[in-house]
Each structure stands twice: as structure tokens, then as C-alpha cells.
């Protein structure tokens, strides 16, 4: 039961990822997030580094999911368990897409909800 739920969640996230990943790639490429992340140079550079870290597996997972889906749906004969590979690939895409969105959520967060971390940085 829990397994089914987790797989369903991953596949659902993957379906969103099929549209979301190219959109996010385009937004990264056009500098859409530049105005939404901390302004100092260290944060920008770190954001750039982590963007590559998150976007690369997402782009690969997206390409693989698409390739697998095309192969599965293009199969006309002797296709045992057609659709299983696509589902797994879309599920993997979902997992990596959730991490990408979570990272963006953190990086673009406005610090209204911050409770005292800035004091930590002034204690020295």
C-alpha cells in the first residue's frame, strides 16, 4: 500500500517534471532567478554551482524519460510489459524534479520566516 502510494507520488511528480524541467532549464539559461536570489557575489556563485548540480541530473532524467516513453509507445509487436520502463523513468524524473523545486524554494525564499539566523552571523 505504502509502496504504491510512493510510486504514484513519484510518477505524478515526474509528469509535472516533464513540463517543469524544460521550463526551469529555460529560466536558468535566461537568468530568470537572478533577481530572486541573495545579491552578494558568494551567494550568486554558490547558486550557480548548485544549479548545475541540480539541473544536470534533471535534464538527463527528462531526456531518458522521453526516450523510454517514445520507445515504449512506438513498440508495435512483442512488447512484454510495455509502459513499465516509462513509468520507472518518469518516477525517477519525479524524484529529481522534487529536489530541484525544493532547492529553488530555498534559494528564492524571502527571509520573513527567519527566526534568528542572522544574529548567528554577527556574533563574531
Amino acid at each position: 500500500m505504502i509502496d504504491t502510494l510512493l510510486v504514484s507520488l513519484a510518477v505524478t511528480a515526474g509528469l509535472f517534471g516533464l513540463a517543469g524541467v524544460p521550463l526551469r532549464c529555460w529560466q536558468f539559461a535566461t537568468g530568470h532567478f537572478r533577481s530572486q536570489i541573495p545579491r552578494h557575489a558568494l551567494a550568486r556563485a554558490t547558486f550557480g554551482l548548485f544549479s548545475i548540480l541540480f539541473v544536470t541530473p534533471n535534464a538527463l532524467a527528462w531526456a531518458y524519460a522521453l526516450f523510454t516513453a517514445l520507445r515504449d509507445f512506438g513498440c508495435t509487436s512483442a512488447c512484454a510489459q510495455a509502459g513499465i520502463a516509462s513509468t520507472i523513468a518518469v518516477g525517477f524524473l519525479g524524484c529529481s524534479y522534487v529536489l530541484l523545486e525544493g532547492f529553488l524554494l530555498t534559494a528564492r525564499r524571502r527571509n520573513g520566516s527567519l527566526t534568528g539566523g542572522s544574529r548567528l552571523l554577527t556574533r563574531d
Binding site: 536570489i37 541573495p38 545579491r39 552578494h40 557575489a41 558568494l42 551567494a43 556563485a45 554558490t46 547558486f47 554551482l49 548548485f50 548540480l53 541540480f54 541530473p57 529536489l99 523545486e101 525544493g102 532547492f103 524554494l105 530555498t106 534559494a107 525564499r109 527571509n111 520566516s113 527567519l114 527566526t115 534568528g116 539566523g117 542572522s118 544574529r119 548567528l120 552571523l121 554577527t122 563574531d124
Partner: protein, 174 residues
């Protein structure tokens, strides 16, 4: 709000992985996983819930937990080296480097800004190494280790962006 749920989900998934290592992994793996989870939670508490640690005993508890985690890491590293599990030993070394940089970023933000070029170069090397290790585990078919490594990368990337966001607050305030 979504941000807090994401963080909670990552920590919960890492706690599940730690439980798996405790139940079915080697002693070194269990100590390694438990130590990093303790360090991650202590970082989160220290940065996000600073007001909780104003009292003397709470500060002592936090530092004690970190000291214990460091001892567990040393024991885990020794176990990996003795068992010739080099990938895990390198993994511990790289993560210690990441945490050292993070500590430096928190305690000496001005110095981190001044030397941001070097800082970023070292960060890039460390994270590239960690990604390389995750890929190696994946290629060797050790999918759980690869998944665990990817989750840790996401957790620390989130923590680091969070810290830099707070740093922005501090800089803009002064």
C-alpha cells in the same frame, strides 16, 4: 511554508536511511550515518532556532552532541580504512571539508566574501568529488548508497543556500 516541508521531508528521508544503516549496515556505516544526521540537525537548529540555545545547558548539549558526532565520524573513518572501503573513507573526508567550509562561512562571513574566488573553487572541487562518488556507486549498482549520497548533497545544498540567504540579511542590515 513549502520550504519548511521540504526541509522536514529531506531530514525524515535521511533519518529513514540512518535507520536502514543501523538495522542492516556495517558498524562504520551506522556510525557514519548517525553522526552526519546529528551534525545536520545541529546545524539546522543553530541557524534556524538560535533562540533555543541561549541557556548554558542547551549550549552544552548542542556542543556535546557535535563532539559525540565527531568522535563517531573518526571511528567510522577508522573502520572504513581498516576494511579497505576507500570510497566511503574518501566520502567522509570530502564531507568534513564541506562542513569546515560551512563553519568558516558562518563564523567568518567577511573573510569568506573577501576570498570568494578561492572559496568557490574549493567548494566546487569538494562537491564535484561528492557527485563523482555518488555516480560511482550508481555505476557499481549500489543504488542505496547512491541515493543516500544524492540526498545528502540536496540537504547540504539547501542548508548552504539558507545560510547565504541569512548572510544577505546581515549584509543588507549593516
Amino acid at each position: 511554508m513549502g520550504y519548511l516541508w521540504f526541509k522536514a521531508a529531506i531530514i525524515a528521508l535521511l533519518a529513514v536511511n540512518t535507520a536502514v544503516f543501523l538495522a542492516s549496515g556495517t558498524l562504520s556505516e551506522a556510525l557514519d550515518s548517525l553522526a552526519w544526521l546529528t551534525l545536520l540537525v545541529s546545524f539546522e537548529l543553530e541557524t534556524g532556532r538560535r533562540e533555543w540555545f541561549r541557556g548554558r545547558w542547551r549550549t552544552i548539549a548542542l556542543r556535546g552532541a557535535r563532539l559525540l558526532a565527531a568522535a563517531m565520524l573518526a571511528a567510522a573513518a577508522a573502520g572504513y580504512v581498516r576494511g579497505k572501503e576507500w570510497l566511503d573513507a574518501i566520502n567522509i573526508g570530502l564531507w568534513i571539508g564541506v562542513v569546515a567550509l560551512l563553519e568558516f562561512e558562518v563564523r567568518r562571513p567577511d573573510a569568506a566574501m573577501r576570498h570568494r574566488g578561492r572559496f568557490l573553487a574549493v567548494t566546487t572541487v569538494l562537491y564535484a568529488g561528492l557527485v563523482g562518488l555518488a555516480l560511482t556507486w550508481l555505476l557499481r549498482g549500489e543504488w542505496f548508497d547512491a541515493y543516500d549520497a544524492a540526498l545528502w548533497l540536496a540537504a547540504f545544498a539547501t542548508l548552504e543556500m539558507d545560510l547565504l540567504g541569512q548572510f544577505r540579511n546581515d549584509r543588507t542590515a549593516t
